[in-house]
C-alpha cells in the first residue's frame, strides 16, 4: 500500500469528501481510537497535559478561523475565552444550571462579545484591529472585576463539579474524554466551515478585502460572522478551562495567553486546521520542556537562567519560525509527505 | 554604456516575465522601449535599476553591464550610486515632503554641496512651474507638476543614464508635449543617456534615437527611431494609423496574422 500520488476523483461528491481515501479514513479512525485509549495507559500528568492541550486546540481553531482564514488578527482571544468561561461559571454557580446547558451559553456569550468588539473591524484593519482586540482583552477583564457581585471580582468564583447525565466529570479521565470530544467536534467543524460559502468568503476577505467586496462578498456580514464563529470556539474553550480548574479567576485569562495563541498559529501554520493542532502541540511541549529543564538549569547555571528560559525560548522559537519557516510546521509536514509520496524521485518536492 | 544581454526575469520563482531581452544604450542616446501593457517594459527597467529585488523578482539568466561592469546582482542603492537613476511609473513623489526636499532626496548620495545647489537651480530652470512651488508639500501638486518633479529628482542625482518610466501617463496632451520636449532638451544639454519607456509611441519616437518594441517579454522589433516610425506594424498597432484605402475585411485578416506573428 503506497501513498496516493494523484487525483482520482470521479465525481463531485468525491471531490468534496472530507476524507478522500480509505487510508485517510483509517488514519482518522485510528487516531480517535488512540485518543480514546489514552487514559488506560497514560499517567495523570500526561492526561492533564493532554487536557490543557485539548482546550488550547479548541481555542486556537477559533483563532485560526478568525485570523488564519479571515485575516482579522485578534490579540484578545484570551479575553473572549474569559467571557465564555465566566458566563458558564456564573450560570452553574449562581443559577445552578447543569454543565451541559451552561457550556453552549458560555460559547454563545463569547460569540456575542466577539460581535461587539468585531464591529470596529469594519472600519479598521491590520495594526489598528490588533489594538482594538488588545483593548477588548483588557476591557473584558476590567468589566469582570467591576461585576463583583456576580463574578466575585478578583477573588474569583468557585464552580461546582461538572456532571453530565449523572456522570461526574471530576476524574481526570472523564474530563479528558469530554475535552477530546470537543476537540474532535471543533476540528471537524473548523475543517468544514472553511469549505462552505462563508469559509470561501473569509479567505477572499483575507487575501484582498477590496477585491472581495467588489466581487460581491459582503464584508460587513462575513467579518462579523468570522468574529462570531471564532469567539464561539474561544467561549467553549474558556468554559472547558473554567470547569476543569473548577474555579474562575481573571488570572486564568492573561493577555500573554492571547499572544501565545497567535504564536501557536504561526508555529503551526496559519490557515490550516492541522496547523492549529500542530502549533498547540509544539508550543505546549516546549512549555513542558522548559518546566522540566528549569531546575536542572538553575542548578547548573543560576536560578535566573531557569526563570528567563521560558521567556527566551518562546521568543526564540517564534523568531526562528518567522525567519526560516514562516509557513509553519504544517507546511513542513506537507513537504515531508510529498517527499515520501514521490520517493525515490523526490528531489523536486524537497524544497 | 548600458548593455543588456539576453536577460530572463522570473517573479516569485514562478512567473517568467522576460524571456531574453537584449538592448544597448550608447552615450548620449535616447532609447525608447515601446510595447503594450504587460510586455515587460517596466520589468526591464527594474531589472536594470535593481528594483526587482524589492518585489521578489530575479534575473535568472543573461547579464546587464554598465560601463563594463556587471550590475545584475547589485541592489538598487548600489546601482543608483554607479550613475543610473530611475523615475518610476506613476509619479511617485514623496507626498508629505516639500518640493525642494523631494529634489534634495534625489541628490542624497552626492557629496558636492555646491554642485547640488547649482543643479537645483538647473532643475528649476528646466521646470519653472515647479520653482514657484518649491516650499509647497508635493502631494498637493498637479499631475504634470508631479511628473516634472519626479524627473527633476532623477536629474538631481546627476546620473550617466536616466531611466524614465512612462512620463506621459495620465497627463493632458499639452503637458505630454511639454515634458517630452524637456526630456529631449535634457538629453541635449546634459549629454545624458536616457532609456525611455512610453506608451505614447509617437511622442517617444519623435525624440528617441533608437527604439525597441517589447511584446510578451521579448524584443520583437528594434531599429533606429526613424525606421520604426515608418514601420507599418508599429504605425498600425501603436499609432493607430493604417494604409488608407485598404479593403476592410482583408485588412482585418492581415492584421490578425501579423499580430500573431509578433506575439508568437
Amino acid at each position: 500500500m503506497g501513498l496516493r500520488t494523484g487525483t482520482f476523483h470521479e465525481n463531485y461528491a468525491e471531490e468534496m469528501a472530507t476524507f478522500n481515501s480509505r487510508l485517510r479514513w483509517g488514519l482518522v479512525a485510528a487516531l480517535i481510537v488512540v485518543l480514546f485509549l489514552c487514559p488506560f495507559f497514560l499517567s495523570d500528568r500526561m492526561l492533564t497535559i493532554l487536557t490543557t492541550m485539548g482546550i488550547a486546540v479548541v481555542s486556537v481553531h477559533g483563532l485560526n478561523i478568525l485570523t488564519g482564514y479571515c485575516g482579522q488578527i485578534s490579540m484578545g482571544h484570551s479575553g473572549f475565552m474569559a467571557v465564555g468561561g465566566y458566563t458558564s461559571a456564573i450560570l452553574c454557580a449562581e443559577l445552578g444550571w447543569p454543565f451541559w446547558a451552561a457550556l453552549p451559553c458560555g460559547a454563545l456569550a463569547a460569540g456575542i462579545a466577539g460581535l461587539l468588539f468585531g464591529l470596529p473591524s469594519l472600519k479598521i484593519k491590520g495594526f489598528y484591529l490588533i489594538m482594538a482586540t488588545i483593548a477588548a482583552q483588557f476591557i473584558i477583564i476590567w468589566i469582570i472585576i467591576q461585576l463583583r457581585s456576580i463574578t466575585g471580582g478578583t477573588d474569583g468564583l468557585l464552580v461546582p463539579k461538572p456532571t453530565i447525565c449523572g456522570i461526574s466529570l471530576t476524574s481526570k479521565a472523564n474530563y479528558y474524554y469530554l475535552v477530546m470530544f470537543f476537540v474532535v467536534l471543533a476540528t471537524i467543524t473548523a475543517h468544514n466551515i472553511v469549505r462552505t460559502r462563508a469559509g470561501r468568503a473569509f479567505i477572499a476577505i483575507r487575501d484582498n478585502e477590496v477585491a472581495a467586496e467588489v466581487m460581491g462578498v459582503s464584508l460587513w456580514s462575513y467579518k462579523l460572522q468570522a468574529f462570531f464563529i471564532g469567539c464561539i470556539y474561544a467561549g467553549a474553550a474558556g468554559s472547558l478551562l473554567v470547569h476543569y480548574v473548577r474555579f474562575a479567576s481573571i488570572e486564568q485569562f492573561p493577555f500573554m495567553d492571547s499572544v501565545w495563541y497567535l504564536g501557536m498559529l504561526i508555529v503551526g501554520g496559519m490557515g490550516s486546521t492541522a496547523g492549529a493542532i500542530f502549533g498547540v502541540i509544539a508550543l505546549k511541549l516546549l512549555d513542558e520542556l522548559v518546566t522540566v529543564s528549569g531546575p536542572i538549569l538553575a542548578a547548573a547555571v543560576a536560578p535566573q537562567a531557569a526563570a528567563s528560559l521560558a521567556l527566551i525560548s518562546h521568543g526564540l522559537i517564534i523568531i526562528i519560525f518567522l525567519i526560516f519557516e514562516p509557513r509553519g510546521l504544517y507546511h513542513r509536514w506537507e513537504m515531508i509527505r510529498a517527499y515520501f509520496r514521490l520517493w525515490p524521485y523526490s528531489h523536486e518536492a524537497s524544497e | 554604456m548600458l548593455e543588456v544581454n539576453n536577460i530572463e526575469v522570473v517573479y516569485m520563482n514562478v512567473i517568467r516575465v522576460l524571456r531574453g531581452v537584449s538592448l544597448m544604450v550608447a552615450d548620449g542616446q535616447i532609447v525608447a522601449l515601446l510595447g503594450a501593457n504587460g510586455g515587460g517594459k517596466t520589468t526591464t527597467l527594474k531589472a536594470i535599476s535593481g528594483m526587482l529585488k524589492t518585489e521578489e523578482g530575479e534575473v535568472t539568466d543573461g547579464s546587464i553591464e554598465f560601463d563594463g561592469k556587471r550590475i545584475d546582482r547589485f541592489g538598487p542603492e548600489h546601482i543608483a550610486v554607479l550613475g543610473i537613476s530611475q523615475a518610476m511609473e506613476g509619479r511617485r513623489v514623496l507626498a508629505h515632503l516639500s518640493v525642494e526636499e523631494n529634489l534634495l532626496v534625489g541628490a542624497y548620495r552626492r557629496k558636492d554641496r555646491q554642485g547640488v545647489k547649482q543643479d537645483l537651480e538647473m532643475v528649476f530652470d528646466y521646470f519653472p512651474a515647479v520653482k514657484r512651488l518649491r516650499r509647497r508639500m508635493s502631494g498637493y501638486l498637479s499631475g504634470g507638476e508631479q511628473q516634472m518633479l519626479v524627473i527633476g529628482r532623477a536629474l538631481m542625482a546627476r546620473p550617466k543614464l536616466m531611466l524614465l518610466d512612462e512620463p506621459s501617463l495620465g497627463l493632458a496632451p499639452l503637458m505630454v508635449q511639454e515634458i517630452i520636449e524637456i526630456i529631449k532638451q535634457i538629453n541635449v544639454d546634459q549629454e545624458m543617456a536616457i532609456l525611455l519607456v512610453e506608451q505614447n509611441v509617437r511622442a517617444a519616437l519623435d525624440i528617441a534615437h533608437y527604439g525597441h518594441v517589447l511584446e510578451n517579454g521579448r524584443v520583437v522589433l528594434s531599429g533606429p527611431a526613424e525606421d520604426l516610425k515608418d514601420n507599418e506594424d508599429v504605425r498600425e498597432f501603436y499609432m493607430g494609423l493604417s494604409k488608407v484605402g485598404a479593403q476592410r475585411s482583408y485588412r482585418e485578416v492581415k492584421h490578425y496574422r501579423r499580430r500573431k506573428r509578433w506575439l508568437g
Binding site: 490588533i130 483593548a135 526564540l316 517564534i318 | 542603492e77 537613476s85 511617485r92 532626496v105
Partner: protein, 295 residues
Amino acid sequence: MTFFLQLIVTGVAQGMVYALIAIGFVIILKCSEVFNIAQGHFVLIGGYLGWTFLVLLGLPIWAALLAAIATAVIMGLLIERLMLRPMVGKPVLAVIMMTIALSTVLGGVATLLWGAEYKAYHGLLPTIIMKVGTISIPSESLIGLIVSVICVAILMFLFRYTKIGLAMRATAEDLQVVQSVGIKATTVYAVSWVIASVVGVIGGILLGGVSGANMDLANIGLKAFAVVLLGGVNSVGGAILAGIILGMLENVAAGYLDPILPGGGLAQVFPFFVMIIVLVFRPHGLFGLAHIERV
C-alpha cells in the same frame, strides 16, 4: 477645585512620559511601517540599565546617561540587524509577531541579567521641587517633562535639518523611490531602531527613578499605544499632545469615577477605552495623516 487641578497637573506630567515612549514607537512606524510592540520593553531595559550604571557601578548621572544611551544604540542596531532585517517585505502580522517575540526575548534577557528583581534608585536623579499654591507638581515628572521636551526638540531638529532626517522622512513615504536614489533603506531602519531604543531607555531611566525598575515597567508600552492611536500613528507632534491629553483624562477619570465604581482600577483600563473610541470614530487619530488605499 484643588483636587481637580492636582489631577490635571499630575496628568500632564505623566502624559509627557507616555508621550516620550510613544515617540519611539512612532519613529519606527513612520520609517519602516513596523509596529513595535516591544517599545515597552525598551523602557524596561532602560529602567534596569539606570540601576546598573547609577547604583551598581556608581557612575555620576551624566556618565550613567551616556553609558545607557551607548548600550541602547548597540541594542537597537543588534535588534534591527538580527530580527527585523530578515522580515523586510513580510506581511504585517509576521512583523508584529516578530516584535512580540522580541518583547519576550527582551523580558527574558532582563530576567537573566537582573533576576526579575525590584531595583530601586530613589533620589539619584536630579529633582526639581515645585509647588504652586496647594498643588504640588511631581518632581520626577517635571524632570520627565524637561527631558521629553529636550528629546523632542532634538528629534525635530534631526528630522528637519539633517540629511539622515531627510532620508528617514523620505523612507516613510516611499521605500522604492528612496532606494532608487541610492539611499540605503537598511541604514534608515537601523537609525530609526536606534532612536526608538534610545528614547525608550531614557524613558525607562526616568520611570525607574520614580518607581524603581521592575518587570512590570514594560506594561507602560501598552499605554503608549493608546497615546499613539489617539495622536495618529504617524505624527510625532500628535503623540506629544495625545500623551498629555490621555494623562489628564486618565487621572481625572480615575480620580472622580474610581470611588463610585465597585471595582475601581479605572486608570489602568482607561487608555483602552480611549483606544476603542478613537478606532471607531477617528481611526487615523487626532493628528494623523489619512492614508489613501490603492488596490
